[in-house]
Point group: C2
Chain length 412, copies 2
């Protein structure tokens, strides 16, 4: 039997959420699914006992859009998913965890197709309206028989708590992740999993966004790319990029039209919130890192520098140990050889406390910096003074927990 | 008193050295310095008891060349060193460990100049013939008074064992590193220290090459850049780039002319040998990683892909745990978005045992792969089948030891 859902767990992470303009967006205390959406999850024998298969279903056809990993070795579900999403219509998403169906060749694509067909049969729709995701070990054949058998009868278990679906897609996540918000009459829900191999384009990340707003597939595609660009794509746990990353949005229209600007704003905020939940729950993480880069020469340089800082093993271990070795911030900025960096105009702050001015380490109070680096959320801010581009990247500290999880991921 | 030198320690690392063409190069069992070179090291109070200051001296002026870090925040010794090396003549190198004199501004450059002046006074030469290096914590002022006092009388201790100098430049290295070889009548000696913040341009690496061959500064510069390009610059412990990297070569000519091709060959081989010693002694490392990329579309792409594999935390932890999760090799190749990668022509081997063919994970014997991944030297080979460019990169596994060393580097 699957372990009980820990719905209450999300609340302990609420304090890490950023203060953001939410004038038109109201987040729900307990996440819900929009009108017409339901989900179910089961253990079908891929994992010993934990839930390993999830369905997310709309009772009517939904407009849909998706973005996928840029890795050159995309998983079979990505190859199939790119074909499926071209039609811009989905009824369901079926996801298994434990085996990612990557590097499995044509047979893997056939397995993914069979998984879509089995889910479609169970739900009374067509396979080309079912998007498939798989996450887990690379290079192992999908146990398609277990999945087909496990899907049978699953439609009877569909219900409205997004955390039930979230639990079925977890790998090394420590808790299921779902949030939801209201924008006008519409609802948006986010269900996602992390939590290693995340960079720079959403690796080992599966994120599903559901809404009852009425939006066409082309509009959804533009909106999704905008939101992902400033949230999931600025998330990095370890600089590795998964072969399975997928972010899908489905809009079934049951709530009618919605103000596009308000929807985009809510979509952006929710994606950032989910990004922070994923970063904070990165493999072995004990801290959330927010890296703000300001006054860079261009957006591209701001992103590169922010990623360099958030990915630096020496910055990440400095934060983990709350060790005020702040020169490492300059090192991580300075190793972006092709970016415009002027030591004389480079300043840096840790949780608002300035530690570098004009490229020089200030004679700061070490106790203050140690306390700042020990906080649950550590904000590293670098102002370059060479332009007008600002950005934010998210990550986490590097700990022995990461080593433990990844030195025996396949074997455990 | 400093701890006794562990000269014999090097021998236990000899088994990791590669089989290379050494027809004209004879490496010495016990490293020596070339004619006219001497070294000394002392504890001058920067560290509690370990040696923290080293001198390397030629009895006559030597032609010299150097390459330095590309980090935008070079340490004060790098700023001064670029000026010093322009003349192409050196008599000595003075190095301190513990404090790197980085992010210390104009005062730091003055301190570095004072360090050169003090060493020159002790040795009876001019400050512009003394190259200064510092390695250690970033952003802390150099204790120049202790260094000046410590240098006094040090010339009386100059002697011929390169390991004595090597011990004075160590930070987190577990043993002093020096090797030497004969090429014709000439001798070449390498003295270096690692061992974190190494990538992609020799970070936290100090490497000094001494020879009694007669070669002019321009020739030395070309030869050094060639050797560094295929050795130290392909070394990565953690993807971070130090603000202090320095590689210097001094040639005092006491052995007369040398065959240039034979010298270049010996220089290349010695730099690769030293690269492997540094990689194997990377912070927390338990394995040496050699990543061979073959048949890439260009040299640049071969290097990018090799660095991506050798830097991937998921590949490094896979090796550490001897976990046959070989799909991670494809992930690390595939995340080089801008490189030419064709899954159908991608093959991979671990210590000569094929695990991937045509982008597919083979149904290999897991016990064999676990054994291969448990070896002291793990060779990861990827053939891309899209061109004619080959390269090799060096690194190490990622362990809890790395976290331990870097979560409290400043504080300890």
């Amino acid at each position: 039997m699957a372990s009980p859902l820990r719905t209450g767990d999300l609340s302990r992470h609420h304090h890490i959420l950023p203060a953001m303009p939410t004038s038109r967006t109201v987040f729900h205390t307990t996440p819900i699914l929009p009108r017409g959406f339901t989900t179910a999850s089961r253990n079908v024998g891929l994992k010993p006992t934990a839930r390993d298969l999830a369905l997310f279903v709309s009772e009517v056809d939904a407009a849909a859009a998706a973005v996928f990993t840029r890795n050159h070795f995309p998983g079979a579900p990505i190859i199939l998913g790119r074909e499926t999403i071209r039609r811009g219509v989905l009824r369901a998403i079926v996801v298994n965890s434990k085996v990612s169906n990557v590097a499995t060749g044509e047979r893997g694509v056939d397995d993914a197709r069979q998984m879509a067909t089995a889910a479609a049969a169970e739900l009374g729709t067509s396979a080309d309206r079912v998007l498939v995701s798989s996450t887990g070990v690379i290079g192992v054949r999908l146990p398609i028989g277990k999945i087909e058998a496990g899907l049978r009868g699953m439609s009877a278990e569909l219900q409205g708590d997004p955390l039930v679906g979230a639990q079925g897609i977890m790998t090394t996540d420590t808790y299921p992740k779902a949030i939801s918000a209201s924008v006008g009459d519409a609802i948006i829900s986010w269900v996602a999993k992390g939590s290693g191999m995340i960079e720079p384009n959403m690796a080992t990340m599966l994120a599903y966004v559901f809404t009852d707003a009425a939006l066409d597939a082309t509009t959804l595609d533009t909106m999704l790319r905008t939101a992902v660009g400033e949230s999931f794509n600025m998330l990095s746990v370890d600089s590795d990029t998964s072969t399975s990353d997928t972010c899908v949005i489905m809009a079934n229209g049951l709530a009618g039209a919605v103000d596009h600007d308000a929807f985009q704003e809510a979509l952006n905020i929710g994606c950032v919130r989910m990004t922070e939940l994923l970063a904070r729950d990165g493999e072995g993480a004990t801290r959330l890192l927010r890296v703000h880069v300001r006054s860079a020469a261009s957006d591209g340089e701001a992103r590169r520098i922010a990623k360099s800082v958030v990915n630096s093993p020496l910055v990440k271990t400095m934060v983990h140990g709350a060790d005020p070795n702040v020169g490492r911030l300059l090192m991580a900025v300075g190793k972006c050889f092709d970016c415009t960096v002027n030591p004389d105009t480079t300043d840096a702050w840790i949780n608002g406390y300035q530690v570098v001015s004009g490229g020089l380490r200030l004679d700061f109070d070490e106790a203050i910096v140690r306390t700042a680096l020990s906080a649950d959320v550590v904000e590293l801010e670098v102002a370059l003074g060479v332009g007008n581009a600002d950005t934010t990247a998210w990550g986490c500290d590097l700990t022995k927990g990461y080593i433990d999880e990844n030195a025996a991921y396949y074997s455990s």
